[in-house]
Amino acid sequence: MNTEIFGIENVNVWLDALIRVLIIVGFMTVVVMALIYAERKILARFQQRLGPTRTGPVGTLQSIADALKLIGKEDLRPRNADPWTFELAPFLVFIPVFLGFVIVPFVLDWQIRVLELGLLYFVAVSGVNIVGWIMAGWGSDNRYAMIGGMRAAAQGISYELPLVLSLVAVAMIVEVPVGDGELLRGSLNLNEIIAAQHEVPNLVWQPLVMIVFIIAALAELNRTPFDIPVGESEVVGGPFVEYSGIRWSMFFLAEYAALLIMSLIFAAVFLGGWAWPFGIWMDEAPGRWLQAIAVAIKSGAFFFLIIWIRASVPRLRIDQLMSFSWKVLLPLMLAQVLVNGLVLVYDWPEIILTAVGLVGVVALFVIVDRAVRHPRPRPAPVAPLQSEAV
């Protein structure tokens, strides 16, 4: 089969896919290095200090210096570590992130592949990295690592559900033109989701869903306030404590690549991707560049928000974050899906979605406030065991 790429006709499909994948991989590596540097600088400014300043002008070569250092380190493996589990774990964390890049649309019809079940594919693939975390934790033969791995797995599984439901809620209400000027509701194709936002971004219709997506994405990325698996002041490093050198850098890069993907998906699903507000200039040359800049600004805003939260907010304890997910986020998302369904079936005006969403945001605030300021009293602790004399 042949297809066209960059205006060159009749290119083999496999070659076309390979070229796109290589471009994306190159792009991703460079952007991830820039993201690491940007995070350090921005985090430093939030703390009223300078970030990296010495390597390169204004410290821009810091990521490269870090990468060189990590490559040069000795590759350790604990003696009793299970060899297959220990060595395969970084790959299992790293590869699903790459696979997620397949469906992300950068500008109009520029992506690796258009999949009709794009969002489903994304969710399915990003769930595989949890297995990688458990393997890293167990294969390290280290108690701290195992604790970190178990915590990460519990957290990752708990927050999959609100994440998936939030994407479902958005996928339900997008309008897809199906020939003859007719509109069909519901699509998992990311391109159609973006194209449906050429007038109004989805955050207007689904504010509660956007907030829940941000929270669930923070949990999936293991970032503050959900970074208890890599709690830097407790189990230092969590499941990655025994890894060094290139293996550790794979985890590190996977974290930032996942962050990049989440920003792009967020920009695509909630903020309108490339279609808002420049969607009408789809085919002309300046239009593409404007779209690319719009996508960059939107995902950059998400990135900035995540770093801002990291600099301001303490971390939750594992039982608190699990109960938050199961008892607060999941019911809210189910209710939102129900309301979306009702609006679709009975053809109510779409402004009801916004109203219900805002009510939901207020409800979230109230629930969190009540849970914190009027906590249920804890049962009395058991008497300590009699330990042997020190």
Binding site: L43, F46, Q47, Q48, R49, R143, Y144, I147, T224, P225, D227, I228, G231, E232, S233, E234, V236, R310, A311, S312, V313, P314, R315, L316, R317, I318, D319, Q320, V368, D369, A371, V372, R373, P375, P377, R378, P379, A380, P381, V382, A383, P384, L385, S387, V390
Partner: protein
Amino acid sequence: MVVEPAVEFETQDLLINVGPQHPSTHGVFRMVLEIDGEVVRDLVPYIGYLHRGAEKLCENNDFRQGIGYMDRTEYLAAHNAELSYVMAVEKLADIEVPERAQWIRMILCELNRISSHFMFLGAFGVDVGVFGTPFIYAWRERETIIDLFEEISGDRMMYAYFRAGGLAWEVPANFRERVGEVLKSARQGVKDFDGLLTENEIFLARTKNVGIISAEDAIEIGMSGPSLRASGVPLDLRKTEPYLYYDQIDFEVITAEGGDVFDRYWVRMQEILQSISIVEQCLERLEDGPIMPEKMPRMLRLPEGEVYIRTEAPRGEYGIYMVSKGGNKPYRLKVRSACLSNLQALKQMSVGQYVADAIIILGSIDIVLSEVDR
């Protein structure tokens, strides 16, 4: 909360070593936790990694050389440590300290209390999980205070400025303006911390109802200082046994009910504000005068006797028990350390809580290992 499994099956508790090198223990402190899943069942602390024999060293050093050692037993609140020592010497030798020296001592001790509490806020914020922001804020405020101390005594942490009888030398001429600047920046720092942590829901969820110790238990263990006052016991040595000129100053004793981690944090935050007001009142009453009594001998020799002097250090009751058998060196010097007594409550507060809570509880007692180990 304590988790009971629905089905009885055999499990094994895990021994976790929160070792001497750890980003979270404030100094070199080791504790071995026995955990069941995430719940702490038992806790065994190990101390002694920072023992340097300060008490024995002071037996070979006279009453001016020993001041440097006292600095190093509590390096975050060194003025308070020096104060107890020189007060003990003055009591035994019956020396009267001039007024100006007493007021300046009060100002410096309260400023040191402010800087020590800022250090607590910074380290506590890191324990709770905010990445680095509270720590940097704390050090920003401490820098202003420590710069002032450097202008007065020459050193940023080990001042060796107090002497038996008064102060070593006169403060610089711009003392009042500098202290005013420091207080202004300290107020802004407290506002920053207040906005960052006190109302943050996640912070409240982490610290409320965690690590509770009741007033009776705290008194029985022998706690003192802000950790005791957070359990509801209004014991402050500056009010009950006033030393220096604390009886002429108006300030409140901050207490809280509940005795959980949040209360200990809140009490210390309010104490910073109280200390700022104390320093302002002292500045009003400060007048010119001598800083050492007229006839001070070159080498101080004490009569025989023993004395126990206790003062309210930022961490609790810091006491010096000195025995003198004549001569210019103490025969025995014992430091009653506040942190060691407060640390006894760690096990009681932590058992039944989660592992993450044990770290926070240790942070909230605010220990400095040099005082625990001396």
